[in-house]
């Protein structure tokens, strides 16, 4: 691959005497000429999973829009890309091709797929774990390149226990990546978020079915721009230390802490999924080390970006230097502060909305007020706008808000869904 990676580390390496926590923002950037990095189409695989449960019939525009969106996605597939369409109810079945497996995109296969999609009828329940298992089977024979799934649903996972879904997610995590879309307002944000996190992808709401087609086209196009799949962040940390967390902080929050796979002594790998050219992501790393003496310098973590073959694509160093100079040790690194704030913002929104649902007005007002203040301080205007639809903002600087009496379900779900979308740290870095 002609993709080139760079790892930059942003941190204040100076710690006061006795301090053990080392924070750093790792910026990983992939660069490469579009032509040079374009995946040979034969390497990429795309599976589109469409919810065809009974609820998709109401309103009738929903199924029609889902079909249209799927057709748009199919049309976006470049010649040679391996693809399939799966329909999901309380079971999963192949829409195109008929047998579990992938087909190369061509004018003929694309139109055959469109015809099969047009014949879809909505009926039955919802068991998303089954859908994912079939997608996994479909991908199974595919060698090489990025494997990506799009999952569309309009409802809750009613015909499966959360436990069953967890078991499936554990099984398929790392085998392909995927983005989830919820259409309408009858689905559960937490549920789809769980799936998208396991698949290292995004979750979003498409409140108006009319917008589905454009969204599907964009997702498919992004997926095909990925040039390198299965890239891991490898962390070496010193003996006696512990990685307290590793989170993707931008473009969206994604906690990778529990995804660690030990790869060598004091070394663990965390999946980052697939990368395209001109892509940059930020990660927030927090390591607890054994404090050393004032004046001592320590390598708190070595960060390596590792390709699917184990080849090191880029490296960075996270340092710790203990000092009794408080002018040095009390400085908070701007990047670390920013993403700590963005993580708190997401948490405040989710907790505030949860409290609002349970009727705990006091907590909801406090948490959403805090969120308004954090969004304002960090210049996250997208989130600030979404918040303003749920609360009446009286003073954004102090975070003084009042809960709105009537809030559209779509507005509340949009805020919840996009709470993990962070604003990237300011320019000039």
């Amino acid at each position: 691959m002609a993709l080139e990676f760079a790892v930059e580390v942003f941190q204040n390496e100076y710690l006061p005497e006795g301090a053990a926590e080392v924070n750093a923002i790792l910026t990983v950037s992939a660069t490469g000429e579009a032509d040079a990095v374009a995946v040979p189409s034969a390497d990429a695989a795309e599976v589109i999973v469409v919810d065809t449960s009974g609820s998709m019939r109401y309103p009738p525009t929903k199924l029609a829009a889902a079909k249209q969106a799927t057709e748009a996605a199919v049309d976006t597939l470049r010649d040679g890309v391996a693809f399939a369409v799966v329909a999901g109810t309380d079971q999963a079945r192949m829409v195109y091709p008929e047998q579990p497996g992938l087909v190369r995109a061509s004018p003929a296969t694309r139109s055959a797929a469109r015809r099969a999609v047009a014949r879809l009828r909505a009926d039955g329940g919802t068991a998303m774990g089954q859908w994912l298992l079939l997608a996994d089977r479909v991908f199974a024979g595919h060698q090489g390149g990025p494997k990506h799934a799009i999952l569309l649903t309009d409802g809750q996972n009613q015909h499966e226990t959360p436990h069953q879904l967890t078991a499936v997610l554990d099984q398929v995590a790392g085998r392909f990546t995927g983005d989830c879309r919820g259409v309408g307002t009858d689905w559960q944000v937490a549920e789809l978020r769980r799936i998208s996190e396991a698949l290292l992808g995004t979750v979003d709401i498409v409140a108006d079915p009319a917008n589905l087609a454009e969204d599907f086209r964009a997702m498919t196009s992004t997926a095909m721009d990925k040039a390198l799949a299965d890239v891991s962040l490898r962390l070496w940390t010193p003996e006696g230390s512990r990685v307290l967390f590793l989170k993707q902080a931008s473009p969206g929050l994604l906690d990778l802490t529990d995804r660690r796979v030990e790869s060598a002594a004091r070394t663990g790998d965390y999946p980052t999924g697939a990368w395209g050219g001109a892509e940059s992501r930020d990660y927030h790393l927090c390591v607890r080390v054994n404090p050393a003496r004032v004046g001592d310098r320590m390598l708190a973590a070595r960060v390596s970006l590792v390709g699917p073959g184990g080849d090191v694509l880029g490296q960075g160093r996270v340092l710790a230097v203990w000092t009794d100079d408080t002018a040095l040790s009390t400085k908070i690194n701007a990047e670390v502060a920013h993403y700590t704030g963005q993580a708190e913002l997401a948490e405040a929104i989710q907790e505030g909305l949860e409290a609002r649902k349970t009727g705990d007005v006091e907590t909801a007002t406090a948490r959403l007020g805090r969120a308004v203040r954090l969004a304002h301080e960090s210049g996250n205007s997208d989130t600030a706008k979404l918040l303003a639809k749920v609360v009446d903002v009286q003073d954004p600087v102090r975070g003084t808000v009042k809960l709105r009496a009537r809030v559209a379900d779509a507005d509340e779900m949009t805020l919840d869904t996009r709470s993990t979308v962070t604003k990237r740290v300011g320019k000039g870095r």
Binding site: T237, E239, V289, R293, G295, D296, R297, L299, R317
Partner: protein, 322 residues
């Protein structure tokens, strides 16, 4: 007595002037020229190995500058130099040597923290001075004259480190030396590094600090107690370096009649043990010079280790030299 060559470890007899195996001069033994960096550890204290960037692959520690903790041991004398707990670098240096059958020479220099490349200044100073002193010991030259020459040569060598146009921060350091032969010991000094003589019943300070505070005490302006807490206590009135205008070190020579120890140290030690009685009180008895030096450094570390600490201890055999 069977000895071994310090270079190649083959057996040599006390009469040999050179090692028959490797040709090393056996009469003169000395600490490494250039200081500890020349003989740095290949492994981290935790047992791990260092990577290309100098970090331990196990505990993550930076390869410690070899100067952080230095121990040198020769028959009859030893030295320990430690970065202490607060300073980023160890800017003290020490060098010493022994001419078999003739005597020993030792030098301690403390780089002035406010100057540039202070550790380089102190290292160059000790190397230059100890060379001259050992040559004098070997040839039987007058120790006091040699001490003067050594201090001036060190002063000139440190002076050559200065950058034109940066006189304000010209590399500089203190100086204390000892030449010990069968009959006598000569101590020379510039600045506030000290020498103590430890006998069977007490200790005595051999040096007077070249500091503004000490000068004011001598003139009766300040008492000893006042001087200790005065902010000028450590402001040097004399030093080695480009801007020193040094004409001669102070020096004292005395006859050796009883066994004891000669202790050279930087202010990182005596800050915590200002009076000879303080030193006497903590000094371990009946142990080798290196143990004495380690213990004294430990005392300063436990007391806070605010400065670099260097201690060189010479065993005096009482009329039988060192």
């Amino acid at each position: 007595m069977v000895e071994s060559c310090p270079e190649c470890a083959s057996a040599v007899s006390p009469q040999d002037r050179f090692c028959e195996e490797c040709g090393r001069n056996l009469r003169v033994q000395r600490t490494p020229v250039g200081g500890p960096e020349a003989v740095a550890d290949a492994r981290c204290a935790c047992g791990g190995g260092f990577d290309a960037d100098g970090f331990c692959g196990r505990c993550g520690r930076d390869r410690p500058p070899a100067r952080d903790r230095v121990e040198y041991v020769l028959p009859g004398l030893a030295g320990v130099s430690d970065r202490g707990r607060r300073r980023q670098r160890n800017e003290d240096s020490m060098a010493f040597g022994r001419v078999r059958g003739r005597g020993v020479a030792a030098v301690v220099c403390d780089g002035v923290a406010s100057s540039e490349r202070a550790e380089q200044a102190s290292q160059v100073a000790v190397d230059t001075a100890v060379d001259l002193l050992l040559t004098a010991v070997q040839s039987g030259a007058d120790p006091e004259e040699a001490t003067g020459d050594a201090a001036l040569a060190a002063d000139a060598a440190v002076g050559r480190l200065a950058r034109p146009g940066a006189e304000e921060v010209a590399p500089s350091c203190t100086f204390v030396s000892a030449v010990v032969t069968d009959e006598s010991a000569t101590v020379g000094w510039v600045g506030d590094s000290r020498a103590y003589l430890v006998g069977e019943s007490g200790a005595a300070r051999l040096t007077t600090d070249d500091t503004w505070a000490a000068q004011l005490v001598a003139e009766g302006v300040l008492t000893e107690e006042e001087a200790l807490t005065d902010r000028r206590a450590h402001v040097l009135s004399r030093w080695l370096g480009a801007d020193s205008a040094l004409d001669a070190p102070q020096a004292v020579t005395f006859r050796l009649e009883t066994p004891g120890l000669l202790v050279l140290c930087s202010d990182g030690l005596w800050n915590y043990l200002p009076e000879p009685e303080d030193l006497w009180a903590v000094l371990p008895r009946g142990v080798a010079p290196v143990e004495v030096a380690r213990e004294l450094v430990e005392v300063a570390l436990k007391a806070g280790g605010h400065d670099n600490i260097t201690v060189v201890v010479v065993q005096l055999r009482g009329g039988h030299g060192a």
